[in-house]
Symmetry: C2
Subunit: 227 residues, 2 copies
Amino acid sequence: MAILHHHPLDPFSRRVRLTLAELGLSADLVEEKPGPARPELLTLNPSGTVPVLLDDDGTVVCGAYAICEYLEELYGATRSFIGQEPATRAETRRLVSWFDEKFNSEVTLPIVGEKAIGRFLPVEFGGGSPDMARVRAGIAAIRGHLHMIGELTDLRNWLAGDELSAADMAAAAHLSCIDYLGDVPWHESPRAKEWYQRIKSRPSFRGLLNDHVRGILAPAAYADLDF
Amino acid sequence: MAILHHHPLDPFSRRVRLTLAELGLSADLVEEKPGPARPELLTLNPSGTVPVLLDDDGTVVCGAYAICEYLEELYGATRSFIGQEPATRAETRRLVSWFDEKFNSEVTLPIVGEKAIGRFLPVEFGGGSPDMARVRAGIAAIRGHLHMIGELTDLRNWLAGDELSAADMAAAAHLSCIDYLGDVPWHESPRAKEWYQRIKSRPSFRGLLNDHVRGILAPAAYADLDF
């Protein structure tokens, strides 16, 4: 069986877990702690970051970009999560970049970095008490992204088109990390909430809803499909 | 003819320009200023960032990830820059992520962001005098990356294998931005310098070497193939 090195509050690892589950594939999960990488992880991925997929045949694939494209190339003929036409594929990847770059820097890193990662790191690796001004700026920035999700789902069934795609999985991977910390103002955006309820109800999401991060208890609404 | 919205010191725009040139394609360049995006750019790409490719048939492709995969899918049968085998494709994309994420945050953003972008922005958009401590940290971080390039080119002809790939173009796109500011310590890594000389000598690089950024004069070595 394949092995996925991951961290439960890493949105990039979560996107890979969703993609594997949607493809009906499973992988043994190996949790990597934030901070300095273990030598075993560095051997697989010299950058020391997760996710890393070690496939059955020994192929090592590092990072969500490489892993999700790898899975698309191996299994996309049966079930593509990027799309069929060049314009659809471009739109899916535009939205993946939106969440992995823009949402990540504006929301995920400020909130998850400060509240869940930094506090467990030694000071010499950037750890310490959360910078609450940075957390508040991250929470304030969520609204615009929820609004965009609402607008897209007014036009389309899912974010990039009629079918569930890598764009939905990227968006849900980031939002689910923020939701674990109870910081998504769902009540302000009923349309985005409706979209999240749909993806959260899929069997592929169950693994994420069962996650427990040491030292951080998720609010009850996190795993509740009727949040 | 296709149109590429870009910025001359944006490494993601540079990677797209190299890819287009290596494929023998050309595009009209439209330069976008750093800071708040023009309404025309926001219409094409709601994130307001470059690069954006407007293809002949009207397809809009936003971001280096989507554009380079789009070009690979349209032209990769003739000349692939990601590779043929799954393991090669995974290795190419691992290295693209290395430069676009790790090198970008450790080196490009601190140096180019402070010295070339921030100083032209209004204060309300984060502009101001360069933070020289941040610039120095960026310059110090280059060494490890040059060392890695040297090690890879000891094993292989190019970074990801025997052929020039997207990994070389990503690495050279970032390094050429730093080189425009004269901040790459090439003398410390002869092997990385030899690799850069090879890619810099390719016809696809000429456009980059002719770039002029308003208010910033590149050192003579920037465009010199015998630097």
